[in-house]
C-alpha cells in the first residue's frame, strides 16, 4: 500500500519549503473553489427566488452568474483537482512523524470533488440553455454544490489536524479524532471567505448590459449590484467572528504574537472592505467591485500567512530537533554508504562505533582532553585486553574518579555498546584524536 508517511525524514530546509509550498497551493486552490461554491449557491438561490417571485431578472442573474464562475474543464482540472493531489503529497511530508490521514481519505475527497464538478458542469449547461430550469436540473446543481461543500468540509477537518501535532498519536489509533472543533471553525471561516469573494466577483463581473430596454437594463444592474454588495457585506461581518473562534480553538502551541497580529490585520481589512461597500454609491461604472474583490484576496492571503506561522509554531520543536539531528544523520548516512563497499568486519564495526560515539558520547568525551568526562586516551588503555569489562562500564557506569561527576547510565542497545567499545579500544590504542 502507498504510505507516504514512511518516506525518509526531511532536512529542515526542505521541510520549510514544503510548508510554504502547501500554503501557496492553497492560495491558488481555495479561491477557485470559493467562487465555484459561492457562485453555484447564489445561482441556485436566485433560481428559487425567481420562481417564487416570478421575476425573470433573478433567473437571468442566476444564468449569468453560473456562466461566470464555472470555468472550462481544463481549468477545473488544473485548479480543482491537481492542487488536492499536491496538498496530499506535501501534507504527508510535513507531518513526517506520522501519516495521520490514510491515502483513502484523500481518494474520498478527490472522488467527492470530481462528482461535484461533474454535477455542477451539467447544471451549468442546463442553466445556460434556458431561463426556465427544470426541477431536475436544479436538483443536480444542488447535489453538485453539496458534494463540493462536503469535500471542503473533509479537507478543513484534515487541515485542522495540521495545527495540533499532539493529536497525531491519537489519530493513528482511532480515525474519528480527525474531527475537531478547530476543523469545523476552519470550514466556516473558509465558507465566509468564499461568499465574500463571490460577492466581490458579482460586483466586479456581473450585470453586464445586454441589448434591450434601457430602463430594464438599469433595473437589472441595480438588482445585481445590490445582491453582490449585500453578500459581501454579510461576509465582512461574519468572517472576523469565525476568525476569533478560530483563535479560541487553535491549540496553545500554535499561538504566537504573529498569529494575533495577523488576525488583527484581517479584522481591519474586513472593516476596510465593509466601509468600502457602505460608502460607495454603487452606481455607474467604477463601483466598489474591484476594490472589494482585491480586499478579499488580501484577507485570504493574510489568513494563510497566519496559518503558516501557526503551523510553524506548532512544529517548532520538531524542526529544532531535525536541525540537531542533521549532523548525526549525515554520519549515519556516510556509514551506510561505507557499508556497501566490501570491507573487513572490524573496519565496519569501527565505523558503526564511530557513529554511536558521535551520537551518544561526544557531548561529554574527547580522546585528547577532558570535557565532562576524562580524556579517553588516558582511561581507555586500561581496558585494552578486556572489551567485556568496558562494555560492562558503559552499560552500567560506576564511580571511578572522585574528582569527576558520575557518568550517567545511557541505556544504549547492546549492539551499540559493543560497537562503541571496540571503537574506543582501537582508537585509544592508536592514540589519536578522532
Amino acid at each position: 500500500m502507498v504510505s507516504l508517511g514512511n518516506l525518509q525524514p526531511l532536512s529542515p530546509q526542505f521541510y520549510l519549503l514544503l510548508r510554504h509550498g502547501l500554503f501557496l497551493v492553497l492560495f491558488l486552490h481555495l479561491p477557485f473553489l470559493g467562487l465555484l461554491i459561492g457562485g453555484s449557491a447564489v445561482s441556485l438561490l436566485l433560481n428559487f427566488l425567481g420562481k417564487e417571485k416570478r421575476d425573470p431578472s433573478y433567473l437571468r442573474f442566476s444564468q449569468e452568474l453560473m456562466g461566470t464562475v464555472l470555468m472550462s474543464k481544463s481549468a477545473l482540472f488544473m485548479f480543482g483537482l491537481v492542487p488536492p493531489l499536491l496538498v496530499w503529497f506535501i501534507y504527508a511530508r510535513v507531518l513526517f512523524d506520522a501519516s495521520p490521514l490514510p491515502w483513502q481519505f484523500w481518494v474520498v475527497i478527490l472522488a467527492v470533488l470530481l462528482s461535484g464538478f461533474a454535477l455542477l458542469s451539467s447544471y451549468r449547461s442546463a442553466r445556460g440553455r434556458a431561463l426556465d430550469l427544470s426541477p431536475m436540473s436544479a436538483a443536480t446543481g444542488a447535489a453538485g454544490l453539496l458534494a463540493v461543500i462536503l469535500a471542503v468540509f473533509l479537507f478543513s477537518a484534515g487541515y485542522g489536524i495540521l495545527f495540533n501535532p499532539g493529536k497525531l498519536p491519537l489519530l493513528q489509533k482511532q480515525v474519528r479524532f480527525f474531527l475537531s472543533w478547530h476543523g469545523v471553525v476552519k470550514f466556516l471561516l473558509f465558507l465566509a471567505f468564499f461568499f465574500g469573494m463571490t460577492g466581490g466577483a458579482i460586483l466586479l463581473l456581473c450585470g453586464r448590459p445586454a441589448e434591450g430596454d434601457e430602463g430594464a437594463e438599469a433595473a437589472y444592474r441595480e438588482l445585481v449590484q445590490r445582491f453582490g454588495a449585500n453578500l459581501a457585506i454579510l461576509a465582512t461581518l461574519v468572517l472576523p467572528v469565525f476568525l476569533l473562534l478560530d483563535l479560541v480553538t487553535l491549540p496553545d502551541i500554535a499561538l504566537s504574537a504573529e498569529v494575533f497580529v495577523s488576525s488583527a490585520v484581517v479584522v481591519l481589512l474586513s472593516l476596510a472592505a465593509c466601509l468600502t461597500l457602505f460608502l460607495s454609491d454603487r452606481k455607474g461604472e467604477g463601483g466598489p467591485g474591484a476594490r472589494v474583490a482585491f480586499l478579499f484576496v488580501l484577507i485570504f492571503l493574510v489568513i494563510l500567512l497566519r496559518d503558516d506561522a501557526a503551523v510553524g509554531n506548532a512544529y517548532q520543536d520538531q524542526i529544532a530537533f531535525l536541525h540537531m539531528q542533521a549532523p548525526v544523520a549525515e554520519l549515519v548516512h556516510a556509514d551506510e554508504k561505507h557499508r556497501e563497499k566490501p570491507a573487513a568486519a572490524d573496519r565496519v564495526a569501527g565505523d558503526a562505533g564511530k557513529v554511536v560515539f558521535e551520537k551518544s558520547c561526544a557531548g561529554c568525551h574527547r580522546f585528547d582532553i577532558r570535557v565532562v568526562g576524562p580524556p579517553l586516551n588516558e582511561v581507555v588503555p586500561k581496558y585494552a585486553g578486556d572489551a567485556e569489562k568496558l562494555k560492562g562500564f558503559i552499560r552500567n557506569p560506576v564511580k571511578v574518579n572522585p574528582d569527576l561527576p558520575s557518568m550517567p547510565r545511557l541505556g544504549l542497545p547492546e549492539e551499540e555498546i559493543d560497537a562503541v567499545a571496540r571503537y574506543l579500544i582501537e582508537k585509544a590504542k592508536a592514540g589519536g584524536s578522532p
Binding site: F260, V267, L279, D317, V372
Partner: protein, 184 residues
C-alpha cells in the same frame, strides 16, 4: 407624510449613513477588543515562562545524552517528576562552563544553599489526581505529553492539560475513564 426625493437624499446623507458607519465601526471595535483580550490572556498564561536560570534542555538532553530521569529522579517512582537537586548540577558545573553568567548564578545558589525556584510550566489544579509513575510504567513516552523537550532551549507547554486531553488518550489507550481515577 411624504418626502420629496431631495429631502429623502438629505436624510440618507445626514442621518442614515453616519448611523450605519457608527454601528459598523462599533461592531468591529468590539471584535478588536475581543481579539486583544484573547491575546492578553494568552500572553498572561505564559506557556513558556522565563526561568531564574536559563537552563537549556538542548545541551543536556540532546548533546550530552543525559536521560530524563538522571535529573527528574522521581519520575518513575512517584507522582511528581521533581526538579533536580543542585548537587546534581554541580557535579558537572564545578568544573564546566564556570565562567558563564548562568553558571555563576547556579554556583551562588549552591553556596548559599538556596534552592532555585523554577517557574512551573506544567501544573494541574488541586482537584485532579495525576501520577507520573503510572504513565511511565505504562510506557507512555515523555514526549507524548511534554513534546520534544530535548529540542527546546526553554521548556514550553505542549499539551493543554485540559480534561479532554487526558480523556482522549485514556480512551485510545484503554486506560480508566472513571471519574474517580482523576478526581479523588
Amino acid at each position: 407624510m411624504t418626502h420629496s426625493p431631495a429631502a429623502e437624499q438629505r436624510v440618507e446623507k445626514t442621518v442614515r449613513k453616519p448611523a450605519i458607519l457608527l454601528a459598523v465601526t462599533a461592531y468591529f471595535g468590539v471584535l478588536l477588543l475581543a481579539l486583544a483580550a484573547l491575546g492578553i490572556s494568552w500572553y498572561r498564561a505564559g506557556l513558556a515562562p522565563d526561568q531564574p536560570i536559563a537552563f537549556p534542555h538542548t545541551i543536556h538532553v540532546s548533546k550530552l545524552n543525559l536521560p530524563c530521569n538522571f535529573c527528574h529522579i522521581f519520575v518513575d517512582r512517584s507522582r511528581h517528576a521533581g526538579a533536580p537537586p543542585l548537587e546534581k548540577c554541580m557535579s558537572c558545573h564545578t568544573a564546566i562552563a564556570t565562567e558563564r553568567e548562568e553558571i555563576r548564578k547556579l554556583a551562588r545558589h549552591y553556596e548559599e544553599k538556596r534552592p532555585v525556584e523554577w517557574n512551573r510550566v506544567y501544573s494541574l489544579p488541586e482537584h485532579v489526581y495525576f501520577s507520573h509513575k503510572r504513565h511511565v510504567k505504562a510506557q507512555v513516552d515523555c514526549s507524548e505529553c511534554h513534546g520534544k523537550v530535548g529540542a527546546m532551549k526553554k521548556v514550553r507547554k505542549v499539551g493543554s492539560l485540559k480534561m479532554g486531553w487526558c480523556v482522549s488518550c485514556h480512551r485510545v489507550r484503554g486506560a480508566s475513564l472513571d471519574c474517580a481515577t482523576c478526581h479523588k
